[in-house]
């Protein structure tokens, strides 16, 4: 056995195997004479959000692919509930531009989806106006929303999201996290998410799993943020794990107008408007968060132009 430093924390309160959508037990993937990831124990139940964090090459995507059967485990076991319906947003997807593919067509990639469900999913992700646009003409953020909409429209039991908000601007990121949380509550699906930010997990995450070739530590976001294993591995510069959630009091509509919290719509932001995220007290990045993560931030506390 390689070094394994599995946390002694219990697997959580969901230890009833029958309700598990997928469980991995001591699972690992061996490629090119090395273990990409090894000794992974994790399970996802209905309505549970599990977030994987870890540095580049930690085996996050590999673990997710193993959970959904894209990669076969070279050791250990992976069990999926029968007839498990998966919705998968991969980390990377390159579509050859010679294939004419509209957003609407992309939605029907792996299953028949009614027009109604298609539009509902596109509206939920905020790109209904792009339904007939060609996929190759989308910006990175729009493409990401289209992929999320596609996975949603399948009404999956298990949603697997590999860095779902990459390339999405800050306000959009918050809206998508809100949406993902809402999907969990309304549909009760399980969610396996890979965070693109080592120091950030979505609010509503039940279990955070820190990976670095093996599971370093796990637990609720609060537990992990205080774990010494996490601090040792990722806590450089005094940065701790933050839970991502914030309130915004206005939304930029696709046509450039602005909708306010009271529902009114204007052409521009009001000078007295707060930020897309609320500063200071309302700002919910817990745990001595120094505000220096790679997102596009508006200056905190300054009026929004």
């Amino acid at each position: 056995m390689l070094m394994r430093n599995r946390a002694d924390l219990p697997l959580g309160d969901h230890a009833k195997d029958a309700a598990k959508l997928v469980s991995l037990s001591n699972a690992g993937i061996f490629r090119d004479n090395r273990w990409l990831v090894r000794g992974v124990d994790l399970s996802i139940a209905r309505g549970e959000v599990v977030t994987l964090i870890g540095p580049n090459g930690a085996g996050k995507s590999t673990t997710a692919k193993m959970a959904i059967g894209v990669l076969k485990a070279d050791e250990g076991t992976v069990t999926r509930s029968s007839d498990l319906r998966i919705g998968y947003v991969p980390q990377k997807l390159s579509i050859d531009w010679t294939m004419p593919l509209s957003v609407r067509r992309l939605m029907r990639l792996t299953s028949s989806i009614s027009d109604q469900d298609t539009m509902a999913a596109l509206e939920a992700t905020g790109i209904a106006h792009l339904a007939d646009a060609e996929v190759r003409h989308l910006s990175g953020g729009e493409f990401q929303r289209a992929l999320l909409a596609r996975a949603l429209a399948r009404k999956p039991d298990l949603l697997v999201l590999d860095e779902p908000v990459q390339g999405v601007d800050f306000a959009g990121e918050a809206a998508l996290y809100d949406l993902i949380r809402k999907i969990r509550t309304t549909t009760g699906c399980g969610i396996l998410m890979i965070s693109h930010d080592l120091h950030m997990v979505m609010a509503g995450t039940d279990t955070v799993i820190c990976l670095n070739g093996h599971i370093c530590c796990r637990g609720t976001p609060e537990v992990v943020s205080q774990s010494s294993d996490y601090a040792k591995l990722f806590g450089a510069n005094g940065r701790a794990l933050a839970v991502y959630s914030h309130n915004h009091d206005h939304t930029h509509l696709p046509d450039g107008r602005v909708q306010h919290r009271d529902g009114s719509i204007t052409d521009h932001c009001h000078p007295e408007d707060g930020h897309h995220h609320e500063p200071a007290a309302g700002h919910d990045h817990h745990h001595h968060h120094d505000g220096d993560h790679g997102h596009h931030h508006h200056g905190e506390g300054k009026p929004h132009a």
């Binding site: 998968y88 991969p90 593919l101 067509r105 792996t110 060609e134």
Partner: protein, 275 residues
């Protein structure tokens, strides 16, 4: 009607073009042009083996094409050489071995040119039955496999995760390719088969709003190239197979003219383009 060699050629050629259209789209989307070329080149080896063992020509060509594509996938998995170099080695070796074998068999005389560049004017009614029968099988199989094939072309991982069995779809796709090559060899010849797969599909791209329409347009454009090429060959007394390819090329060049093509929502100009 079938008494006239020109009519027979037309019916056979249109049959091949209609079949090649949708298959050619996948060749373009999956960047398998060279792969298709390699399979086609291996057909000459199939011809030689068929003569040597006195087995059915079509079966032999089909079998060798399947074997070569299987060998290719196996070698690719070992990743000792780039796919590109492997294709180059297999493609030309298969062709060369075929030529050498034919030369050894001094007791047979074959019209090499007919195999290499096609002899559509010598098509018999039974050839037509084979082309249309085989074509219907290929198109029906493609229609049946359409969703898994499209899904795995966009992303094998997503297809696998969402229950599409991309490996199986790929295997069937190889078999269909081999079948089309075996059928089309007599019409356009080994050297030109790939062009009938790729050029109409590439031409159809500009007019198509969806993968499905692109497949349909590729078939129609291929059929137009066959008709145009055959009339050109009759008028100018040029070889028929190459004339069909030249006609396809002319259609492709025309499709590049700004006056043609679908008006798309060119949002790429003011927004970041995803590569």
């Amino acid at each position: 009607m079938l008494d006239d060699f020109f009519t027979r050629a037309m019916i056979a050629g249109v049959g091949v073009a209609l079949t090649a259209g949708p298959l050619g789209c996948f060749v373009v989307w999956r960047r398998m042009a060279y792969f298709g070329d390699t399979m086609a080149h291996s057909a000459l080896l199939g011809v030689a083996l068929s003569l040597f063992f006195e087995v059915n020509l079509l079966l032999s060509v089909f079998g060798v094409a399947v074997l070569v594509s299987g060998l290719l996938l196996l070698l690719q998995r070992r990743q000792s050489l780039s796919a590109d170099a492997l294709l180059g080695i297999l493609s030309h070796s298969a062709l060369a071995i075929g030529l050498v074998l034919v030369a050894f068999m001094t007791w047979v005389r074959i019209d090499l040119i007919a195999f290499l560049f096609g002899d559509i004017l010598a098509v018999t009614p039974s050839d037509i039955a084979l082309i249309w029968g085989g074509g219907i099988v290929v198109v029906a199989a493609l229609a049946f496999l359409w969703r898994p094939l499209i899904a795995s072309t966009v992303s094998e991982d997503v297809a696998e995760a969402e229950g599409m069995r991309p490996a199986q779809a790929k295997l069937f796709f190889m078999l269909l390719m081999a079948l089309v090559i075996a059928i089309a060899m007599k019409i356009v010849g080994i050297m030109l088969i790939t062009s009938l797969l790729i050029i109409p599909a590439a031409t159809a791209r500009r007019f198509s709003a969806s993968p499905e329409w692109m497949a349909v347009f590729a078939s129609l454009i291929g059929a137009a190239a066959v008709v145009g090429g055959l009339f050109g060959s009759l008028t100018y007394d040029t070889p028929s197979g190459p004339s069909i390819v030249v006609a396809a090329l002319l259609l492709f060049i025309m499709s590049l003219l700004p006056a043609f093509g679908r008006k798309t929502n060119e949002r790429a100009t003011n927004q970041g383009v995803r590569g």
